[in-house]
Symmetry: C2
Subunit: 363 residues, 2 copies
Amino acid sequence: MSELDRLFMDRALELAARGVGSTAPNPAVGCVIVRDGRVLGEGYHHRAGEAHAEANALAAAGDARGATAYVTLEPCNHVGRTPACAQSLIGAGVARVVIGAADPNPKTDGGGIRALRDAGIRVDVLADARAVQLIEPFAFAVRHDRPFVALKMAMSLDGKASATQGTTTAITGEAWRLFVRDLRIAYDAVMVGAGTIRVDDSQLTVRPPSHRLRPYTRVVVCETDAVPASSNVFRGVADYARTIVLAPAGARERFGELDAVANVTFVGAASDAQLDLRAAMRALRDAGVQSVLCEGGPTLGARLLAGGLVDRVYWGVAPRFFTAPRAVPVLAGANLATLRESVRFDRVEMIGEDALLTGRVHV
Amino acid sequence: MSELDRLFMDRALELAARGVGSTAPNPAVGCVIVRDGRVLGEGYHHRAGEAHAEANALAAAGDARGATAYVTLEPCNHVGRTPACAQSLIGAGVARVVIGAADPNPKTDGGGIRALRDAGIRVDVLADARAVQLIEPFAFAVRHDRPFVALKMAMSLDGKASATQGTTTAITGEAWRLFVRDLRIAYDAVMVGAGTIRVDDSQLTVRPPSHRLRPYTRVVVCETDAVPASSNVFRGVADYARTIVLAPAGARERFGELDAVANVTFVGAASDAQLDLRAAMRALRDAGVQSVLCEGGPTLGARLLAGGLVDRVYWGVAPRFFTAPRAVPVLAGANLATLRESVRFDRVEMIGEDALLTGRVHV
């Protein structure tokens, strides 16, 4: 990758970021059309059903003959609700296409790249780490029957979620709060366990609101018992989809009260008094959720990990100590000592006064 | 600071690093003499009693008239076992002195800088963060009656030191092991609690051995009971000082066996059955230890924190999970929830596959 290629791919990634949170079930994509070092046109995918990034950039460029197109994701070569982008690029007469990440969809199987090359266009696939991470949830969801699940937890340096049971301790700082806000925007849904609703009674909204176009989904995982129908998470908010409650089919009678305020999705057999978490994640996928950000609590986090259902962790470590007889550990209620999964950190840095450790979970 | 100043201060810091671990009770110092952008001479302080960095650099330079001296620490202006460096620089006719960090010794009180300026030499004090951190333990020890104490712990992402009680779990990777080796070299003493000796039976040595010149000190903190005299930490090793055992004066009869293999230092009154940790740290300072690296275990770490006796933490976070019924928390046995201390992270980064979080502890 030349310096100039890096510069224009950076710009395409910046453009793609504007669509993050609004494009599902499509991934966010950005595109820049360049000739002789000069930008002719820029574009990004705004939302599903609307023009793709390449179409927007080509329209802005006007005449793109002999130009280079920088696009964060391999151009599609199928006609859906919009024309095939590979064909549009060929038709526009571009000389070269630089691709950030190949299309992970097995149905595509390099079709966009092949079509461009067959038309005599030079194609460079960068496999850029940021371009790959941009489509991480999308790449996962097209290959699996459940959503991409990220687990976000915050803890003290000594591994405690809070100093005392049953209370919320403000543990991380303001910069971390804004980081989590951006995460909530990037994921299709925000999910917590029933215990967290009972203790925190959080609304799970994005504040201040973002530019995000489509409704947010909030998910409450009830492993056995329901939560109060008066919980804040059920309060209707403009731009928010109805909250989804995942509940065991065998406990149906305990969830009657929630029908009026939430989408209660019963999972498993009528004999299941406990929630089958894997089946619950599949149910979310069926509801159109490609990516979930789980924000705890300690029991749900541990059970998701124990079930091999976590694909990325975002760990916030606050620069303080909470060890005490009634302190709440960051994970609890499952045995993870024999877990084969471990994390490969890909980003370890300070977020304000706190530390962020994030990485993919690998078996 | 100009680009050139930064370059030569970087070089002086590199030179200083060669003395780390060998210069106590003096700090490590490096010096570069430069004229017209050309290095005339370099030097560093090798060990206490021998020539200072400035003297070595001036000797290497020969004629230093009109030159700039880059020195990581304010030059001394007192005649000790060696001549005063400020006077040597004045005598050599240097035109400018660039200082990385001011001398933290209240007895010096800027005397080196004043002497240089009074002689008409231009002096720039950079307060460079790395130069300040290089002398952190020294700076602390000259102002307090106890050593600078760093607490180094390793834990899983869920805050566990090991997966089961009474065993050692290999938790962090090879790069972290080498990082800890370098830490052991940089501190005057390596310290652990009795429980860690009983479980790990570590020798607490530096492997592979370093260039370090003076003997290493190993410290075992026995809060109530002694450890076996056959423990590896008492094995005589060339270049290692006799191991210091800190024990409560009231438990003297339990430590008879250790007299033959260690320097048993009894702390407190004859009625003290439990160790007074603050008094124990003072005793270490009296034994010439300016800086201590405590490597656990969980109880000693927590008790040092609870006592306000930790000045820096080095936290290693391994990318795995150990939550389980018998898992050992990274800190235990003290109540830290009401602690006023918190950490100010100054370095958060990956060390191989693990994450390092380090920072000063502030009240």
